[in-house]
């Protein structure tokens, strides 16, 4: 079970969090013309990297904040955790 450092609450067990996928995906702006390709990339296509991955987790049984976690998908090592508005 992972041990995740919520930037708001501190180290908490994985069971308090829920996973939210790739944190680098950016939603196209509202009312902006986007091609089918761009939209499909946003909705469906995700990389499945072996190694470092910046991902979203929500501290669902804690402060309910969405946070960013840089994790190694192979070793589960967590390098850093960030608040929603922070970037690497």
């Amino acid at each position: 079970m992972l041990y995740i450092k919520c930037p708001h609450c501190g180290l908490r067990p994985q069971t308090e969090f829920s996973y939210g996928g790739d944190a680098t995906v950016k939603r196209p702006e509202l009312n902006k013309e986007v091609s089918d390709q761009e939209w499909d990339n946003f909705v469906y296509l995700r990389k499945s990297p072996r190694g470092k991955h910046l991902e979203l987790w929500q501290h669902i049984s804690g402060c309910r904040q969405w946070i960013k976690v840089e994790r190694d998908t192979l070793t589960h090592e967590i390098f850093t955790t960030l608040k929603a508005n922070e970037n690497l």
Partner: protein, 998 residues
């Protein structure tokens, strides 16, 4: 059988307390402090079971967790416990155990015929034999294998025992209380670190319990006892026996299984049988010791052949002789310790040492005691079927290839010592890259991935002096990093006997013309020939060899067999062992009971149960409840002998004719506040929200980004910047996370806050043509006329002194209102509604009637919003704004979503107006078409229409728009039904929606 093998004195058992127990129905005696194994051996019982594949007789091989044979089934406190290792089970008064894997009994086992048919059971026999013909698998092979396989039978009864989970955090977790565990724990404890020290046996001390050493001025055993009692008195130390750390998971999370009551005849009230500890440790010290390696020779699985260290443990800890005419077969000095113990207790052993010659303190001592030692000697084969009665021994050449001078000598046990294998399971589980140590021919931990260190013999260190030195130092160093304290403890001096070099020889060649089975894996009956066969057949990877031959699998996980298996593969393959590599060690290190894994989360405790504030009223009024997510909701209220169908029909009818009330507390509620709330809702919902006036509610549908409907519900503008959103019961949590996602990550510039208020409000839906009358009497001061409180209107009121929110919204399709009060007043509100509604014939209705009402109205719910449908499919396209952008809008233009024959919701009525259509039925054109019959869609919800008094269903079918009026079929192959139906509008009742506005 009744011969006594217990010594007059000695051992750590309590000879003042005699204990009676039964094994295979026969009564025996032992002492407090015995294990089932030691007590049976004291009674001369060696035959305890049959082997897995060939059903060969099985005795005891070890004295602890490594035991591959002695697995028994226990009856304790009227509960069956399968898969119990007799070497671990402590004796208690009245213990009942029996053998497994044999029928009709252990002495006469029909399955043993496999032993004589063993040509048919080579490596991979399951794969080869049972592959053909295919039809034989289910009928013949599988049932036979099922009957023959496994260790004991699990009970099919509910386990009444209690199992607990515990979470703990510590600076250092130390697994094992041998010298390295004790020393590192002691040093770390003195530095003030928070420590958990775990021992899997009942007694602390590990190898110190059986070795002849001096630490400081004490015997090893006394030293261990003193350290343990000091550690137990320290507030920063948790010391646990009967506790096996069996799993090493990510981020230094370890799991330990504590056998709290297994050693007692009965579990005390409120005490668990077992407790599972989830431990998050800053540092982990693995001091799990080592396990003696078997030597491989003919019939080496015969009862009476056992590890030399086990024989020594039975002698020194339990005062039990495993035999009175022992052969000690060894390739190192450890065997001599056992020989000397036998000799000291008046038994003459013969030592067969594979080495040509060896000299050390201990060999000298053995010689001085006149022990018969034969160098360059091996056991060729054990003789005897149910028990060893003699052995063929022989001289072995210097190159270990040729045996000569075979002779048969009498014996009653053969104690083998093939040197030691470090127990690296936990280190390996942690991700440690192990390395091969040539000197000891075994893998040891090397490069750590997590915060762990392995000490003592588990790390391949076999001298006490070095073990204590490194363990004291490491314990001090690790704890100092955490506590910043340093209280140096002096490292005691050690007196121990130095060992001479061991011989790497491990497998005795077969004599000319003999074909003895030489076992590698005792639990799975894997013999040398099986591995050779697997290699001949082309298996190369050790992982494949393992799976093909079952080497190292099953409950003992190859604790005694792994290395010899590797040696053999490397010999045949002409590779060195490190190239072959070892198979992956996975948790658990020892079997863990399912009960311990599940813990208290059984039955009703498997998930939380949420009840509305009106729950007690429902109970009193004969509600039959149904699980709705984690909520309990009344399904119907039973009157007299009514069944579900009759009751729900009555309740639904009463709503259509008079008035009903339904507990809607479980609906998700989200409070939304902030100056940008309207803009936010406008982006979340498919319809327009910017112009909703204060005091008005609106129905809305929200999508996922892929265009699929996520949820629906009404949201009400309470004040300028304050909205009250409702969600379906099932989606409440997901919708909140969804809203938080967009507010925190996508549109952080919006000034909006959301919070769940589901539990703050109790809700009652009052529905039916007479609902306004009830409402007026509940709120006599309010104008609740159609003008005063129109459809989708909202007002606040005073319900006999209680603040209430009143929404004119409807799920039933009738004139209806929802009244919310603070949860604490929920029951008060409910009782008032029932009291006032009496004169209007009010009746409470449950979820079944609620479903009926919404289905015949064509209102969609969870069975239509099933994660596969878009707004159009549910005839909700009118709510999709063309002007503004919102979540998921861009996806709605996808080709499949705008296809002319896109699926759409319809109504379905059976032609006979009688036959109910099972939910999940397929709608097809031709019920007799060739399979697979192309389906048009499926029936999502069914009810008995109370309006028309015939069955009615909703279905989502291809080109539903153009199917109205068609005669089709509803097929339910599961129920073997084919029902002719007509497709009608999904709005079966009041298609213009006049009632809700009346």
């Amino acid at each position: 059988m009744s011969e006594n093998f217990r010594l007059e004195k000695g051992g750590l058992i309590n000879r003042n307390k005699k204990i009676s127990f039964t094994f295979n129905g026969k009564k025996y005696f032992g002492y407090e402090g015995d294990t089932l194994a030691s007590a049976l051996l004291a009674n001369g019982v060696h035959l305890v079971g049959r082997s897995f594949k060939y059903h060969r007789p099985r005795g005891f091989f070890g004295a602890g967790v490594d035991e591959p044979y002695a697995i028994v089934q226990m009856n304790r406190n009227n509960e069956v416990d399968p898969n119990v290792r007799a070497t671990e089970q402590e004796l208690f008064e009245g213990l009942e155990a029996k053998s497994v894997n044999c029928w009709p009994n252990v002495n006469f086992d029909i399955g043993a015929i496999n032993n004589f048919l063993n040509k048919f059971f080579p490596a991979g026999f399951y794969y080869k034999t049972f592959m053909w013909p295919k039809s034989f698998w289910y009928k013949i092979y599988e049932p036979i294998i099922r009957k023959a396989a496994g260790f004991g039978a699990a009970s099919i009864k509910h386990d009444k025992e209690r199992y607990e989970h515990k979470y703990e955090y510590c600076d250092l977790l130390i697994a094992g209380t041998g010298p390295s565990g004790l020393a590192s724990a002691y040093a770390a404890a003195k530095n003030g670190a928070k420590i958990i020290l775990a021992e899997d046996k009942s007694r602390y001390g590990g190898s110190l319990l059986t070795s002849e050493v001096t630490i400081g001025n004490q015997s090893g055993q006394d030293w261990a006892e003193q350290i343990i009692s000091e550690l137990k008195s320290m507030p920063n130390v948790i010391v646990k026996n009967r506790s096996q750390v069996f799993g090493y998971y990510d981020h230094n999370m370890l799991v330990m299984s504590e056998r709290v009551s297994d050693h007692l005849p009965k579990t005390d009230k409120y005490t668990p049988k077992q407790r599972l500890w989830y431990i998050r440790a800053k540092e982990v010290v693995i001091s799990s010791g080592s396990i003696e390696r078997p030597l491989v020779f003919g019939n080496n699985d015969t009862p009476g052949v056992m590890l030399s260290s086990a024989a020594k443990e039975y002698l020194k800890v339990y005062g039990v002789l495993v035999g009175k005419k022992p052969i000690i077969f060894t390739n190192n000095d450890s065997g001599y310790e056992t020989a000397i113990e036998f000799k000291k207790n008046g038994v003459d052993p013969i030592v067969l040492d594979t080495r040509k010659d060896a000299n050390s303190e201990i060999i000298k001592e053995a010689k001085e005691l006149n022990i018969n030692i034969k160098f360059s000697y091996v056991v060729v084969a054990a003789k005897g079927y149910k028990k060893v009665n003699s052995a063929d021994i022989a001289k072995i050449s210097d190159d270990k290839k040729v045996i000569s001078n075979i002779e048969n000598i009498k014996c009653d046990c053969i104690c083998v010592s093939g040197f030691w294998t470090p127990t690296i399971h936990l280190a390996s589980q942690s991700g440690n890259k192990t390395k091969f140590n040539e000197e000891i021919d075994a893998f040891v931990p090397s490069h750590s991935k997590q915060k762990e260190v392995t000490l003592g013999s588990a790390n391949g260190v076999f001298t006490l002096e070095e073990t204590l030195k490194t363990s004291f130092e490491k314990g001090s160093e690790l704890s100092k990093q955490i506590t910043n304290k340093e209280n140096k403890v002096p490292i005691p001096t050690v007196v121990e006997k130095k060992s001479s070099k061991y011989d790497k020889f491990w497998c005795v060649p077969l004599p000319e013309g003999k074909n003895y089975k030489r076992f590698l894996d005792f639990q799975n009956d894997v013999a040398v020939a099986d591995i050779q066969l697997a290699l001949r057949e082309g298996y190369r990877s050790i992982e494949h060899v393992k799976r093909y031959t079952t080497l190292g699998m099953a409950t003992d996980q190859g604790k005694t067999s792994n290395l010899n298996g590797l040696q053999l593969v490397s010999e045949v393959e002409n590779k060195v062992v490190p190239q072959v590599g070892h198979t992956t060690f996975r948790p658990p290190y020892t079997p863990v009971s399912i009960g311990a894994i599940v813990g208290r989360e059984v039955g009703k405790h498997a998930k939380p149960t949420r009840k509305s504030p009106m729950h007690h009223w429902h109970e009193k009024n004969n509600a039959v409840f149904v699980d709705a997510g984690v909520w309990l909701r009344p399904r119907y209220y039973k009157q007299g002998n009514e069944n579900l169908f009759e009751a729900s029909k009555r309740e639904a009818k009463n709503v259509r004719q008079n008035v009903g009330v339904c507990d809607v507390t479980t609906l998700g509620k989200i409070d939304i506040k902030g100056p940008d709330a309207a803009e936010f809702l406008n982006r979340v919902y498919t319809n327009s929200w910017l112009k909703l006036p204060v005091g008005k509610a609106r129905y809305g549908v929200m999508l996922r980004e892929d265009g699929i409907v996520m949820d629906d519900g009404t949201t009400t503008r309470i004040s300028e910047n304050h909205y009250h959103m409702t969600t379906t019961t099932a989606q409440a949590a997901n919708v909140l996370s969804h809203l938080e996602y967009y507010l925190q990550l996508v549109w952080p510039e919006l000034n909006v806050n959301v919070v769940s208020s589901t539990e703050q409000w109790a809700g009652a839906a009052i529905a039916g043509p007479k609902s306004r009358d009830v409402l007026q009497k509940l709120f006599p001061d309010l104008d609740v006329s159609n003008e005063g409180l129109p459809f989708m209107g909202y007002m606040e009121g005073n319900l006999f002194g209680v603040y209430a929110k009143i929404f004119r919204i409807s799920f039933s399709g009738e004139l209806a209102y929802e009244v919310n009060v603070e949860s604490d007043h929920g029951n008060f509100m409910w009782e008032k509604i029932m009291e006032i509604g009496k004169e209007f014939n009010i009746q409470a209705y449950g979820t079944e009637a609620l479903s009926t009402l919404r289905i015949e109205m064509g209102h969609v719910a969870g069975s239509e919003l099933d994660g596969r449908t878009i707004p159009y499919d549910n005839s909700l396209e009118g709510l999709v704004s063309k002007k503004k952008d919102f979540i998921g809008k861009r996806s709605l233009g996808k080709k499949a979503y705008v296809a002319a024959n896109r699926q759409k919701i319809v109504g379905v009525v059976p032609l006979d107006k009688k036959t109910s259509i099972p939910e999940g039925s397929y709608i097809v054109k031709d019920p007799k078409a060739k399979l697979p019959n192309p389906k048009l869609g499926h029936v999502s919800a069914s009810c008995w229409s109370v309006e028309y008094d015939n069955p009615f269903s909703l279905a989502i079918i291809k080109d539903g728009k153009n199917m109205i009026g068609q005669k089709l079929y509803a097929l339910s192959p599961l129920r073997n039904k084919s029902i002719p139906v007509e497709i009608v509008s999904s709005h079966y009742v009041d298609p213009k929606g006049e009632r809700v506005r009346s």
